[in-house]
């Protein structure tokens, strides 16, 4: 019953659209002359003066009962693709009541969600036809950023709890209450719009865009991606650089090591080639971030103690308070077998072992005690 109603509603909608002449044009000023404004909800920084031109691609995205809509590349003035975009018009149906949702979606070069723009002329609306307020758009942005959202694994009808005793079946029956976890992540009163948008953004198109990028991959593009602060890009590039490129870009890689997310840092330590560990100069910038980096990465770095130069081993004796219990054990064990244990390190150890505020001071005391034996 509900499906046939939906179909009728869609038909009526499409009829209306045909008369209106399809997707409404933008009022925001993304014209044929290119995009000069940062998308309103966006994950990248936007350099002033940026002008991106739309360029056709072979990709398109399938919209429920509306057919294929094109995915375009956004190309900068140097001719490089920096984003993908699509002006989407899609029906959103809840309990047989269908409306059109117009939204301009942006993807990264790897098919990740990059942002969206709303049409001034066609704001998003909720189930009760109220327009989205700014906070609602922001919440939608947060939702679309979450590529592992609960919306991913559920069909729409699994996301709503049907009222225990439905008051009345039919067009006007209230949509069931959304379950708690879903409620927290979607715009209140707009589950269906959120669901539709999430699946458009994070659906099959992701892989297609990534494949397209991979098919045109060259060193220039790798470098371009490495220079951004996007962790997906960084991971993607770090997995593809040759040993020589690791050396070539070591300054940038060490910078990412300092400021990147833990996942990226971990990958860096795991992937740094022997040539870096063999060179005092090349590895020092990585050790230089020791205090700032997360604990997991710090442990991995300590795994390279035996390749570290004397200056690093000495330096670490001033950073005992930053080490966790097990890291401290690793460091002390290394010292007990290394030739670097000199009076200056010993002094640092003694100072640390007598510092009342240091939770792990006792470990260093044990160590010093054992040394005396």
């Amino acid at each position: 019953m509900r499906w046939s109603l939906t179909a009728i509603a869609l038909f009526v909608l499409q009829l209306g659209m045909a008369q209106l002449g399809g997707t409404p044009s933008f009022s925001n000023g993304w014209s044929k002359s290119g995009q000069v404004q940062q998308p309103e909800f966006f994950i990248f920084p936007w350099e002033p003066g940026t002008r991106l031109q739309e360029k056709k691609t072979s990709l398109s995205i399938e919209i429920d009962s509306m057919g294929m809509q094109p995915i375009k590349a956004l190309v900068n003035e140097g001719g490089r693709t920096t984003l993908y975009v699509s002006d989407i018009s899609t029906p959103v149906c809840a309990d047989g009541d269908c409306r059109l949702m117009d939204i301009r979606l942006y993807w990264t070069l790897l098919g990740g969600y990059a942002g969206f723009d709303r049409y001034r002329s066609a704001p998003l609306t909720k189930h009760d036809h109220d327009e989205f307020v700014y906070a609602d758009y922001l919440k939608l942005h947060q939702l679309l950023l979450d590529d592992n959202s609960i919306l991913k694994r559920r069909k729409i009808d699994e996301l709503v709890k049907k009222p225990a005793q439905p008051e009345e079946e039919g067009v006007d029956a209230i949509a069931g209450a959304t379950i708690k976890e879903v409620k927290e992540s979607v715009v209140s009163g707009a589950l269906y719009s959120c669901y539709t948008a999430w699946h458009l953004v994070n659906g099959g198109i992701k892989d297609k865009i990534k494949d397209l990028t991979i098919s045109t991959l060259n060193n220039e593009l790798l470098e371009q991606m490495l220079m951004t602060d996007n962790s997906d890009y960084q991971m993607f590039v770090l997995k593809r650089l040759s040993d020589r490129q690791y050396e070539q870009y070591y300054v940038r890689i060490a910078e990412i090591f300092g400021g990147g997310i833990p996942l990226v840092r971990t990958l860096i330590v795991k992937n740094l080639p022997e040539t870096i560990w063999n060179s005092e100069r090349l590895q020092e910038p990585f050790w230089g971030h020791f205090e700032r980096i997360d604990i997991n990465t710090r442990s991995l770095l300590l795994g390279h103690l035996s390749e570290a130069p004397a200056s690093v081993v000495h330096g670490l004796s001033n950073k005992l308070g930053q080490m966790t219990k097990n890291q401290l054990k690793i460091y002390l064990e290394y010292l007990s077998e290394s030739q670097f244990l000199d009076t200056s390190i010993l002094d640092n150890l003694k100072n640390f072992s007598s510092d009342q505020r240091e939770a792990n001071a006792y470990l260093v005391s044990y160590f010093l005690e054992d040394l005396r034996l």
Partner: protein, 597 residues
């Protein structure tokens, strides 16, 4: 009074060439633990079960015991304890020692790392005194033992030395003197161990089930409160005796299923249930286990268990570990078993192997009350909780960090979670809307997900799940998605480090072969539960407790045939598979009693 652990030793102190009197009181053996709980989870790391004042912020009732001194005199007193959250604040778990009616001034629980704290000297004028532990904070103060000596010489601190010292003091021989013989010895009474015991006992084996808690079920017990997921496979009849309803994790409803489970296991005459017994060693000769040694968690009494076959269902693979079984820990590199899932890349399976595992949880909850409820300031918790606010904790409250081993560092992991919980709750209490909220329950047991995985003839992998490989020896089946967790802090350092996220991979029905349920190199060792033979990603699906229960039931039946033909677990696969599969198939139906035939 437990005389056993009130060891009075008069030994010649060679250094001083005189007689000295010492007395070691194990806190877990106190006559009356009061509001303190016995915590035996970390014996292998810190040396002993201990008493802990788990009062969720309200000081607990005193623990007390009567001590008999053979000699009067002035004694120096030390307490073995630890400040579990050291830093620039007052230690969270402080307590005092009291002898008869007099408390010592010294607040205990202040040193970092397990070791001795000097309490003071006391003249003992009567042969019998009452010793009490007076909790001052309600925040997990801990006391392992109390040592009296007429000499002012501190006992050793390092865990290894303390173990030797204890043995010497107790004059314990290496091996336990009491020996019990069984057909099958099962260690670890989680759902897997219970199912193994029932399946074997129903077919007539005499079974010992050694479990270190007072109640059965492991993570499904009312002490940890995780509900059981997964399907029953061939073992619905057995598993329904053990599983739970689908209440939310952490729910008090776990108590109802607890009674059902305990009653059911106890109803088998040929299962000898050793509750509150913790295995501490497995002795193997020629790659076969001969004994498992266990100790009572309160009295300290020891027993040696012999059997032709053993099941390791400890979750942590302890029996295998002690016996020298091959095991793995951490994540294999993506190419080891070709377990790539491109969408999640490194989070799913890393290019290079590492020691990341799914984390452990401490479940907890609070409730609304009629009146205003105060909660103390917890400065020692805030470095972990930061500004996070919460009033309940579900499965996402999970902690794993690569420098911490889920077994060796389990106490640090549990304590980290306690800080996360108390801190987040204290933050939430600052909001007037939570004025009448009160902590209702915080577990003190670590609910583990992954640690040692013993290696069998087959290592179950993600691909086995993804493809639904139909093994000839498939004995366990599951339809649940493979879900693998990671700490959200890996993606964003602003996130708390104690919250995880799950990645789900939908699979067809998949099967676990019998070959993943016995050790590759220890001839008479079965394993069931999350320590079965699997890769890290492979564990993602079948770690849930109806599936681990299926594994238990499957090995229980395999043990029956092993005994029947006097062969080892591997021989069942090579020589008796058909009979074994038939036996499994027959489990669906209740046997008709002889009298009714």
């Amino acid at each position: 009074m437990k005389v056993f652990f009130q060891i009075f030793v008069s030994i010649i102190c060679t250094l001083r060439l005189g007689w000295c009197q010492e007395l070691l009181i194990e806190a877990e053996s106190f006559d009356n633990p009061g509001g303190w709980v016995v915590d035996p989870q970390f014996v292998q790391q810190m040396g002993s079960p201990y008493l802990m004042a788990h009062g969720m912020g309200e000081p607990v009732a005193d623990a007390s015991t009567t001590v008999r001194f053979p000699e009067k005199g002035t004694y120096h007193i030390w307490v073995r304890t630890m400040n579990w959250a050291p830093g620039d604040w007052q230690a969270p778990g402080r307590f005092r020692l009291k002898i008869d009616d007099r408390s010592f001034e010294k607040q205990l629980g202040q040193r970092s790392g397990w070791g001795w704290e000097y309490v003071g000297a006391k003249e003992i004028q009567h042969n019998t005194v009452v010793l009490s532990l007076v909790d001052l904070t309600g925040f997990n103060g801990r006391c392992d033992a109390i040592y009296f000596s007429v000499q002012k010489e501190e006992p050793p601190a390092s865990p290894r030395k303390v173990a030797d010292w204890r043995m010497q003091l107790a004059q314990e021989p290496n091996a336990p003197e009491e020996l019990e013989a069984y057909d099958l010895v099962v260690t670890g009474g989680g759902i897997a161990g219970c199912a193994a015991s029932i399946a074997a006992a129903e077919q007539g084996l005499k079974v010992a089930l050694i479990h270190d808690r007072p109640v059965l079920g492991g993570n499904a017990s009312s002490e940890i409160r995780v509900h059981t997921l997964g399907i029953y496979g061939h073992f619905e009849r057995i598993l329904k005796k053990l599983d739970t309803e689908h209440y939310p994790n952490g729910s008090a409803e776990a108590k109802l299923d607890q009674k059902k489970r305990d009653d059911n296991v106890k109803s088998y005459e040929n299962i000898d249930l050793y509750l509150n017994w913790r295995a501490y060693d497995a002795v193997a000769e020629n790659d076969s286990i001969r004994y498992v040694d266990a100790r009572h968690t309160r009295t300290g009494k020891r027993k040696r268990f012999s059997a032709p076959y053993f099941v390791d269902s400890t979750g942590d693979g302890w029996i295998g570990f002690w016996a020298g079984a091959d095991f793995s820990y951490g994540r294999e590199s993506v190419n080891t078993y070709d377990e790539d899932w491109e969408e999640w890349g490194e989070l799913w399976s890393p290019e290079e192997a590492d020691n990341a595992v799914m984390g452990s949880s401490v479940l907890w909850g609070s409730k609304e009350t009629e009146t205003e409820q105060r909660f103390p300031e917890v400065p020692w918790a805030l470095p972990v909780a930061k500004t996070y606010e919460e009033v309940n904790g579900e499965w996402q409250w999970e902690f794993s960090r690569n420098d911490l081993n889920q077994i060796d560092d389990a106490e640090a992991i549990r304590d980290h979670m306690l800080r996360a919980i108390y801190g987040s709750f204290a933050n939430a209490k600052k909001d007037p809307k939570n004025a009448t909220r009160k902590l209702e329950w915080v577990s003190y047991l670590v609910g583990k997900r992954e640690s040692r995985r013993l290696v069998g003839d087959h290592v179950f992998t993600f691909n086995d799940a993804k493809k639904g490989t139909k093994f000839p020896d498939a004995v366990v089946q599951e339809t649940r998605e493979v879900d693998v967790h990671y700490q959200t802090v890996l993606e964003n350092e602003q996130n708390p480090d104690f919250i995880s996220e799950a990645l789900f991979y939908k699979t067809p029905r998949y099967y676990i072969p019998y070959r993943s349920l016995y050790s590759k190199n220890i001839k008479n060792l079965f394993m069931a539960g999350r320590n079965f033979s699997t890769s890290h990603v492979g564990l993602g699906g079948p770690r849930v407790m109806r599936t681990t229960g299926q594994m238990g039931a499957a090995v229980g039946l395999a043990a029956v045939l092993c005994k029947k033909y006097d062969v080892n677990p591997r021989d069942i696969y090579t020589g008796y598979l058909e009979e074994y599969l038939d036996l499994i198939e027959s489990q669906k139906y209740l046997k008709i009693p002889e009298s009714k035939k």
